[in-house]
Amino acid sequence: MSIEVRIPTILRSYTGGAKAVEGSGDTLAGLLSDLESRHGGLRERLVDDGGLRRFVNVYLNDEDVRFLGGLDAPVRDGDTVTVLPAVAGGAS
């Protein structure tokens, strides 16, 4: 099991403060389920009924997973997944 998942500050309460954790899976969805077994609550911060939450960015290596199939994006050992909260807002 060796897909590195980099966790942003605001979600490190789910990883005991760790900046990165490791997991396994064939797809991003599978990886997140695997992480959930050790870091309960994390998955719900990233995913809702409609798929990936709109204001969370998830990257597989150097690509935004939205362009790779979202939760169905295939992942494999050696990949790095990076989670960043979107920086957004505005007057409206």
């Binding site: 500050t9 920086v87 007057a91």
Partner: protein, 160 residues
Amino acid sequence: MLTISSALQAEIVAHARADHPDEACGVLAGPAGSDRPERFIPMTNAERSPTFYRFDSMEQLKVWREMDERDEEPVVIYHSHSATEAYPSRTDIAYASEPGAHYVLVSTRAPAETEFRSFRIVDGTVTEEEVRLGPDATAGTAPGNPRGTAAGPATGAAPE
């Protein structure tokens, strides 16, 4: 309190003016744990909108990685409001995701005067803080002995 050099403050205001009436956004990076903004990083507003902003996701990845490599963090996250006051909107509060950052808001609604205010946004709670103009960050290595660069009305920025 946010201590910021007048040069960085001027960069933010210039960016907000340049993108008006769209909202402008960006980051000031600084050494991790220092609470000292040093590096101006204007970001693309992927929404190109007068009422909304969102960092472009690929640009954000690049900039966040670069900060990681340099052992920096986003000390300031700024954006402009082009028709309303420089105060966090409900949208701003809902999406605020960096509890350690200073959220700077600039309003360009008045042509001659730019409001510039700073806030903490933690767990949905907004707290305004004082903005103090300090010496230019590049002179910060010699406390009490800033170079002769224009530091504006440096109202006694505390030495490190």
